[in-house]
């Protein structure tokens, strides 16, 4: 189970998608190192405009096309490890052709690894390319936890999957996916990953992979059932239990967060009505006009702050929770695979024990099987620890982020209310002076 050995399972349902020629395949360009990244961004953008069979519509916000360097600086899960591979996903573009409409994302790479021919790459990939990569990783690294992709169709009620919010949410998730792979000591050396990051023409490679597939003699067949595992080692059983409870808690947190967003939106509706009542009143008053206008303006400011808070929560908080639900699913899959490998080993062991009376000595394939279980266990434990660590960091960041957003909200409201106090009191003082 060493890294970089493709051990593909026959893929199903992939062919038809892959056979659709990629309109961008000829366009992927290698980014030459340049001191001015901004210039390059511009040139890529211009290139996109002259696509033969696609009309790109720029849906990216200025923030999303920030330079690679900026992204690297912002990245905070460095862990103190020396990194030599940096990837980022940005600059989503919409492509409209007669066949289909889809979004591509720019995948930028910076590396000092010798496995790469160049220190920097910039390619454009669409969702199905990411999906291909993930499948390849899963096939070739069955003992490892492969980070999740955002769901193909996520979030109920999102009608427009080309809306800026949807694309941005997906971009973040894809970025997270690639970063998780790039930070993984084994996955990041996977050959498919290398190709994904650097290939000018990914489709050509995909087709080649398909041709190779038929030659692959050995495919891993797992015991799919009928055999009851003698016992999951305690350690892995605990992992399973943990994941079950954690999924449940995440589900609850997700529901609470959604409910809060709903309550806040309804609160916002009322506030939007509440403020204008004060300004309506101000119209029929003399001395009270200014104070009432002040309160009205203040409520308007608080409404805006509340709207921002709600938006932040639904765009930044909920997607992360959902990513984790998928992450847990991936982890559960790996656990399941481990159980299968163990089951296979136990089955063989039993068969040998049965024949032992006739022959002595352990057959080599049983030993191989045992090796596989041990390898799997070791890989899984390492990934588990890494996952736990990631989870801790991610949730620390997510929850402090939530607290921060709430603090900011209250600070904005506080500033609004404090600003009208002098207005109210000054008037009062003038009044009592004249009296």
């Amino acid at each position: 189970m060493s890294a970089g050995t493709p051990k593909s399972l026959p893929s199903s349902g992939q062919k038809s998608i892959q056979d659709i020629s990629h309109p961008l395949s000829a366009e992927d360009s290698v980014l030459t190192p340049s001191p001015d990244l901004g210039n390059n961004t511009a040139s890529i953008g211009e290139k996109d405009l002259s696509l033969p069979n696609g009309t790109p519509v720029d849906t990216s916000s200025p923030a999303s096309s920030s330079s690679l360097l900026n992204r690297l600086q912002l990245d905070d899960d460095l862990d103190g490890e020396t990194r030599d591979l940096f990837v980022s996903v940005d600059d989503p573009k919409k492509h409209v052709s007669t066949m289909e409409t889809y979004i591509t994302y720019r995948v930028s790479t910076k590396t000092t690894r010798t496995e790469f021919d160049l220190p920097e790459y910039s390619v454009r990939r669409r969702y199905q390319d990411f999906d291909w990569l993930r499948n390849k990783l899963e096939e070739s690294q069955p003992t490892h936890l492969i980070p999740p992709l955002p769901e193909k169709f996520v979030m109920k009620g999102v009608v427009d999957r080309f809306s800026e919010e949807f694309v941005e949410t997906r971009r973040k998730a894809l970025d997270k996916f690639l970063k998780r792979v790039a930070d993984h000591p084994v996955l990041s050396f996977n050959e498919h990953f290398n190709v994904f990051l650097s290939a000018k023409d990914l489709n050509a490679y995909k087709r080649q992979g398909l041709a190779l597939l038929t030659k692959m003699g050995e495919s891993v067949k797992y015991v799919t059932g009928g055999y009851k595992l003698r016992g999951r080692p305690l350690e892995f059983a605990a992992m399973g239990d943990y994941l079950d409870v954690f999924t449940q808690k995440l589900g609850t947190i997700d529901r609470i967060a959604q409910r809060i967003i709903k309550e806040q939106s309804e609160y916002l509706v009322e506030l939007r009505e509440y403020g204008p009542v004060y300004s309506g009143w101000a119209a029929s008053e003399g001395d009270l006009q200014e104070p009432l206008e002040g309160v009205s303006g203040c409520i308007a400011n608080c409404s805006t702050a509340l709207e921002e808070l709600t938006e932040d929560m639904s765009e930044d908080f909920l997607p992360v929770l959902r990513e984790y639900v998928l992450y847990i699913e991936s982890m559960k899959n790996v656990l399941k695979k481990r159980d299968q490998v163990q089951a296979e080993y136990e089955a063989k062991l039993e068969a040998v024990a049965f024949r032992k009376e006739e022959r002595t000595g352990m057959p080599t394939d049983v030993e191989k099987c045992q090796d596989r279980v041990e390898c799997f266990n070791a890989d899984l434990k390492a990934d588990w620890d890494r996952w736990q660590n990631n989870k801790r960091q991610d949730f620390r960041q997510l929850l402090t982020g939530m607290a921060d957003k709430n603090i900011q909200y209250y600070e904005k409201c506080l500033a609004a209310w404090e600003s009208i106090i002098p207005l109210l009191q000054e008037k009062q003082d003038v009044k009592s002076d004249t009296n």
Binding site: E263, Y267, E273, S284, Y410
Partner: protein
């Protein structure tokens, strides 16, 4: 009643002032609001108590009585601190007092009572009359009412009011002896009648319009505020669920456990804090409500003026028609078609004697009518003068009160924001330790 009348007369005499004096007088009453009774006496509604008894039709009923305490200020200053005089009154007695004041001082914007039943409440708040929170807010409202009356330059001198504060026994009888009820009935009839004034006083028309607007805007504000309170309650309370789930989640975590657990406590605290926030906001709602009811009192003053204006106009019209009749009789010409003209045409002319007799009756009626118009005119003018003094006083009071209410509302919101920042900062600290 005699005492009361003399008070009124004194007041009326007092208002016969020049504009400058009027201004001066107004400032005095503003600056020294409470020179009258409050300077001599401390007034409070100290507590409320539930009682059960038989009512007029011998039915069992439960009601609330309020303890009114009064204490002379001189005594307090001399640090004798005597036990205050105290007596119990029911809400209905407060109502009676206010009705009496309304009828007796139609030109005054009489302070309103707190609501009889809870209105404009957000759904978590009980609308039950016996609810302790409601009773407490009503206690505060009744005390506020007494203080407003006691600090009013005219109302504070009323004998019936003094009696209300000082002596539990015989007060109701004393009120009814004033005969205010007969006036009250005719007043009610007049207020309900529909009539159109020909020459309305522009100031009062505007004021009436304003009172309508004040009423509609305050009721709208109270309605929306109740809904805002509902939603705010929801937002805070849902956060409380984080408290539970964080605590449950912390059970399966090692390094993250402690941070999650304590963050959960902060979420609990956040959810709980909304109760105090909304309870405090209810005070603001009560301040607005007082002005919602003041709008009604203000309109009553306008309505009364309209009525007087109408009476004056009717008297004047009557006089004019009498004068016309006299002219017709004197000249023998009938300018307009009338039944009298028809009969005279049909049955022949009257004798000169008859005409003389009619003319003298008319002359007498005209003299009476002139007197009446003069009287009504004077009455109306006086009313306008008195009412305007009190309206000016009311406007000043309103502007001051509402500005204060808005300031305290803003201060309240500031403290809500600060609390919010505090809770989330605490939670953030816990999260960042995970």
């Amino acid at each position: 009643m005699a005492d009361c009348d003399s008070e009124e007369i004194a007041v009326i005499g007092n208002t016969d002032l020049t504009a400058a004096e009027l201004e001066n007088n107004k400032n005095n009453t503003m600056a020294e609001a409470g020179t009258t009774l409050l300077r001599r006496m401390e007034i409070s509604v100290a507590e409320a108590e539930k009682r059960t008894g038989k009512n007029a039709v011998n039915m069992q009923e439960t009601y609330t009585v309020y303890l009114i305490e009064t204490r002379p200020i001189d005594a307090a200053a001399e640090s004798q601190n005597p036990t205050p005089d105290s007596l119990w009154r029911r809400y209905s007695e407060f109502e009676l007092l206010r009705n009496y004041l309304l009828v007796t001082y139609p030109f005054i914007v009489v302070p309103p009572l707190p609501e009889k039943r809870a209105e404009f409440v957000w759904h978590k708040l009980s609308a039950d009359n016996m609810d302790p929170d409601f009773v407490e807010r009503r206690r505060a409202g009744l005390e506020n009412f007494l203080l407003r009356v006691a600090s009013h330059p005219i109302l504070s001198n009323d004998k019936i009011f003094h009696h209300f504060l000082a002596e539990e026994q015989g007060w109701k009888e004393a009120v009814f002896e004033t005969g205010f009820q007969a006036k009250a009935d005719s007043r009610l009839k007049a207020l309900n009648a529909t009539f159109r004034v020909k020459n309305p006083d522009k100031r009062f028309t505007e004021l009436k319009h304003y009172s309508d607007e004040l009423q509609s805007v305050t009721s709208q504000l109270l309605r929306v505020r109740a809904r805002v309170a509902d939603r705010l309650y929801g937002v805070y309370k849902v956060h409380g669920n984080y408290g539970r789930v964080f605590s449950e989640w912390s059970a399966i975590e090692k390094e993250m456990g402690d941070g999650l657990q304590s963050a959960g406590h902060h979420m609990d605290a956040y959810a709980t804090s909304v109760d105090d926030i909304l309870e405090e906001e209810e005070h603001y709602a009560d301040q607005l409500k007082e002005y919602l009811f003041y709008a009604e009192a203000l309109r009553a003053v306008c309505r009364k003026h309209e009525l007087m204006q109408y009476e004056l106009e009717t008297a004047a019209q009557d006089l004019a028609s009498k004068k016309q009749q006299r002219e017709e009789l004197a000249t023998g010409t009938i300018r307009t078609f009338s039944l009298k003209g028809m009969t005279s045409k049909l049955f022949g002319q009257e004798t000169p004697e008859q005409r003389e007799a009619k003319l003298s009756v008319l002359e007498e009626q005209i003299a009476e009518g002139e007197e009446l118009v003069k009287e009504k005119n004077a009455e109306c003018e006086e009313y306008v003068k008195n009412a305007w003094v009190d309206i000016e006083r009311f406007k000043e009071q309103k502007d001051r009160d509402l500005k204060e209410a808005l300031i305290s509302y803003a201060i309240m919101q500031i403290s809500v924001c600060k609390k919010g920042i505090q809770v989330w900062t605490n939670a953030k600290e816990c999260f960042s330790k995970m």
